[in-house]
């Protein structure tokens, strides 16, 4: 399967890339290409111009600054997986980086692309919802910060304008007694999750939840923030009973459809089970376990 013909440009700077996007209504950013190139080969997408941003320097980094973990949009998922900073301080992100597609794909696939593609089956969207992350979009008028909660608008549809490029992702630096976990149920390595759950929690000294973030993968048109479950847990004890009640709320928030990965009921049931397990693990990690 060969993609349809297209023009290709490989700018060296972000402003040149933004200009290239502005010049053609049917231009598309090529980041890691691990979703875009397959859909072009299947002829589900046929952009007239690919703007390859792989040759722009300075878009690949993972560093802590001003209370955030800042991740350059072109950081490969494999670099996240192998980052000691991530594995020491960001367990939710460390979990997700091990299960995105497969190890070979992770050498090309990028954090920014995983988000900008706005595929509800991708793993970073739910993760970043659980973290309460921000993304930086760069366009003709410079940078703007978009809270992740208002980034995903629909299936493959994000808040990015046609001539904007996602350039950075910002994850809040961990507070004391915080922890997270990502649990994915997949039929095989490399498949999209049937269901996956991202949980990020902070506990007070009495083991009550100070904050809770819960993101659901592949059970709706976008990744879903399980807000009712989060609100239910805030201020409550990190007990098994509370976690189970929150998981029921998360299952209600899911909007799965039946497909070859399972029925609606099956997926909803998986959301419940995986929310319980992800929250348990996040709590354990927040306690220092």
């Amino acid at each position: 399967m060969i993609p349809p013909s297209f023009d290709y440009v490989a700018p060296q700077t972000i402003s040149d890339a933004v200009a290239a996007l502005s010049q053609n209504e049917n231009a598309k950013v090529l980041a890691g290409g691990q979703s875009l190139i397959p859909v072009m080969r299947f002829r589900l997408a046929s952009p007239e111009v690919l703007v390859d941003i792989n040759r722009i320097e300075g878009l690949s980094y993972i560093r802590e600054e001003d209370g955030w973990l800042k991740i350059g949009a072109m950081t490969r998922e494999a670099d996240v997986e192998h980052s000691s900073l991530v594995s020491e301080r960001y367990p939710l992100l460390a979990d997700v980086a091990r299960v995105i597609s497969d190890p070979v794909v992770r050498n090309m696939g990028t954090v920014g692309g995983n988000l900008a593609n706005a595929d509800p089956g991708n793993d970073q969207p739910a993760t970043m919802l659980a973290y309460g992350a921000e993304v930086v979009a760069t366009g003709p008028n410079g940078e703007r910060v978009i809270p992740i909660g208002s980034f995903f608008l629909g299936l493959y549809e994000s808040a990015l304008a046609r001539d904007e490029i996602l350039t950075e992702v910002r994850v809040p630096a961990p507070r004391p007694r915080s922890g997270g976990a990502y649990l994915k149920f997949e039929r095989k390595v490399g498949d999209f999750g049937t269901v996956a759950v991202a949980a990020q929690v902070e506990l007070d000294e009495n083991d009550n939840f100070v904050s809770v973030g819960l993101g659901l993968t592949n059970v709706g048109l976008t990744a879903i923030q399980a807000a009712a479950a989060e609100d239910f847990l805030k201020g409550k004890a990190a007990s098994e009973d509370n976690i189970r009640q929150a998981a029921s709320l998360a299952a209600e928030a899911a909007q799965p459809i039946a497909d070859f990965r399972g029925s609606e009921e099956y997926k909803r049931s998986l959301v419940k089970t995986y929310t319980v397990r992800a929250l348990r693990k996040a709590v354990e990690r927040a306690k220092g376990g």
């Binding site: 399967m1 060969i2 993609p3 349809p4 013909s5 297209f6 023009d7 290709y8 490989a10 090529l30 290409g33 691990q34 190139i37 397959p38 072009m40 080969r41 690919l50 390859d52 792989n54 494999a78 091990r98 597609s101 497969d102 190890p103 070979v104 794909v105 050498n107 090309m108 390595v189 490399g190």
Partner: protein, 158 residues
Amino acid sequence: MSQHQIQVTINGKAYEADVEARLLLVHFLREKLNMTGTHIGCDTTSCGVCTVLFNGKPVKSCTLLAVQANGAEVRTVEGLAQNGKLHPVQEAFHEKHGLQCGYCTPGMLMTSVALLERNPHPTEDEIRHGLSGNLCRCTGYTNIVKAVQYAAEKMAES
């Protein structure tokens, strides 16, 4: 349609070519350069048989444009043996019977080589995790894992 001139170093040798933007790296290797050691399997970024090393890292050459390889270093299975002597990973796959039909082997070898370059003493779990993007429909993976372990030992000795 856009044509682009690219320069790529493949297995240490420099190549120059004019390519159409939509030409995939795997087709460039197989059809323009007649280097058919890199196989095509699933055509859907799933199976990993087309894995080559792109600036030292395993990538699926069916999911990369040839034009993206401009200026890059690419290593393929043809570059593993040196002066008629098999690479230790190739020797190990032979010794431990890490293949049956052999179709997935070029990709398995390239991913294994990169795995051992990054982590010379992997655990079984690390090998299985590291090779999980490369599918084999014959072996059940047992002998592939043994081959990588064997290669790690041999490479540590030398």
